[in-house]
Symmetry: C2
Subunit: 315 residues, 2 copies
DNA sequence: GATTAAATTGTTACCGATAACATCAAACAA
DNA sequence: TTGTTTGATGTTATCGGTAACAATTTAATC
């Protein structure tokens, strides 16, 4: 392995000059820079990441904090991890998975946090290393997320275009930011069309939305579309409609949100918003690394939603 | 962060003694060892992995070499990577994914190789860092794999127990070791029962086995079970039987091997061997790290096959 | 009891980089 | 011309460990 010193000798300069060419090229004459670049190329020099890390006393470790319970049947977190790991590995960082319990064991260079609740805001603000959240928030933390509002807005719009005359929103009973945004998307579309909004909220389980629909079946007019905050809720709604003798998509429309796993096995597939968790995970990693390197906030990254057309809205 | 020096001071010894307590405890008196342990505990000392890596000039990088084409629809490699990464991250190693092309870019501490062919043996032997293969081989490399022979042996045995009177092996047309082993498992069972073996080999595509069965349908007696070398081939066989008017599992039995993804969507599910790729990936990582640390070969690890009962053998 | 071998502990240099400071030459002002 | 500022480069110490060697103590041998 060739080192800084080898390059320095070959270029007839000091180690420090070579180091500067790499890290602060503006502080070196063009003439020397050329010499150094040439030496590096000839010797096929690659900086030793480990030595660099020691000198900067950094750890090359990123902590991924998953603050909610992990549903192992959902490939959601797997995909997230794969996306993050892909980026981190590329830059020779390693990923450490932590939960609420083992959170502060060991040092690191930065955090990726997902599943934050309001009560977490304080300690996250106190963290001394750069942080990127996975999932939108309204506390000023940089984050990566799908444009939730645009998602439900688009789905609502599509449902209206397909001729459904009433839109009912079936949401998640939670105070998290993404839910507010999804509701906002629905509301905006409904208001633009001068319609009357109707919202219901449940825990994120298909049987809850299913029960609700069955119990209120007689109050639901035909030609209604249900804009659901998750595929899970959508699945419950669809099931209830079918069991009550309704026809999807002819008499009733249903849309979901997520498209991670359920969408692959459901039949008919739900018309939903597809999120590339892997890609978003990669973005998390990149944003965080940029933040670490520059020391500055990198802002948030919002992925525009992609419609995934299933069979639960008219064609 | 507390360092070796802090501990050394607290325990009134030299840095070196502390280092020895950690790495070569047998070379230090019990008395001093106690002092050092206490100091470490009181100061909550955790060794700095980066500094250690620099001193040992190691890279903390493991290369995962996938030598065959990656079928991205199969979660096989994803699972493998997840398993490996899980272990490596635990020990603060990072994983670098390489293929035939970018193989020798950059240094590393060890290799995990999968998809090796005979022509690869030479260069793998020449590698200067520890190697673990994923997938059995007969060239003396340490490996992790399912007990392939036991797998087909068990499936063949089960098929006979269920009353099928003839066993036909549908294999993969490849010279890789795992295929020989799967054939051997079938052959052993057949020979033990004094039956006449019948083997056919194809590329690993469902339509190849399907075509074969359909073309030879009139030569296949009822009450035959097909022992297939992969779920893919099994799927083709099952499809052919159904299209030719045969009944699975009443008239014909089918077994597969792998149970990774296809098994989740197929209907009926194939009776097959289930492999936990994630777990095996973890084992790969652990074996390799042990090998790196000890400098000695760790031998191979063979996972005993687990039957996954589907609907393609009689109950 | 003197000599030598073995076991234990401490010193020094080094892994490969970087920051902080020191040096030096050229450019500029008085 | 001389002193001062500026910019470019080199020196040294440091990050937190470890190996190789030196020094010291203890045990073993004759």
């Amino acid at each position: 392995m060739t080192t800084l010193l080898d390059v320095a000798k070959k270029a007839n300069v000091s180690k420090m000059t070579v180091s500067r060419v790499i890290n602060h090229p503006d502080k070196v004459t063009d003439e020397l820079k050329q010499l150094v670049y040439e030496a590096m190329r000839e010797l096929d020099y690659h900086p030793n990441v480990i030595a660099k890390a020691l000198a900067n006393n950094s750890t090359r470790i990123i902590k991924l904090c998953i603050l909610e319970d992990i549903d192992t049947t959902e490939p959601y977190y797997m995909n997230l991890m794969i996306g993050i790991a892909k980026t981190l590995d590329l830059h020779q960082y390693s990923l450490q998975l932590v939960t609420r319990r083992n959170f502060d064991i060991g040092n690191c260079d930065g955090y990726i946090i997902t599943g934050m609740r309001i009560s977490d805001v304080d300690w996250i603000k106190d963290l001394k290393k750069p942080v990127v959240l996975f999932g939108e928030n309204r506390y000023g933390f940089d984050f990566i997320d799908t444009n939730n509002k645009a998602g439900t807005y688009l789905l609502s719009q599509l449902a209206l275009k397909k001729g459904y005359e009433k839109l009912i929103y079936v949401g998640i009973d939670s105070k998290e930011s993404f839910e507010y945004s999804r509701e906002a998307g629905y509301l905006q579309q409904v208001q633009e069309k001068r319609m009357v909004p109707e919202l219901h909220r449940f825990g994120n389980h298909s049987h809850l939305s299913e029960d609700f629909i069955r119990q209120n079946w007689n109050k639901i007019p035909k030609n209604t579309a249900f804009i659901c905050a998750s595929d899970r809720l959508a699945l419950g709604v669809e099931r209830a409609i079918v069991r009550c003798g309704g026809k999807v998509p002819d008499e009733f429309g249903v849309t979901g949100f997520d498209g991670v796993f359920l969408n692959q096995v459901a039949s008919p597939k739900i018309t939903t918003i597809k999120q590339s968790i892997i890609q978003m995970g990669s973005a998390c990693g990149e944003t965080l690394l940029d933040k670490i390197q520059s020391g500055e906030s990198q802002g948030s990254l919002v992925f525009e939603p992609k419609l995934s057309l299933g069979g639960t809205l008219r064609d």
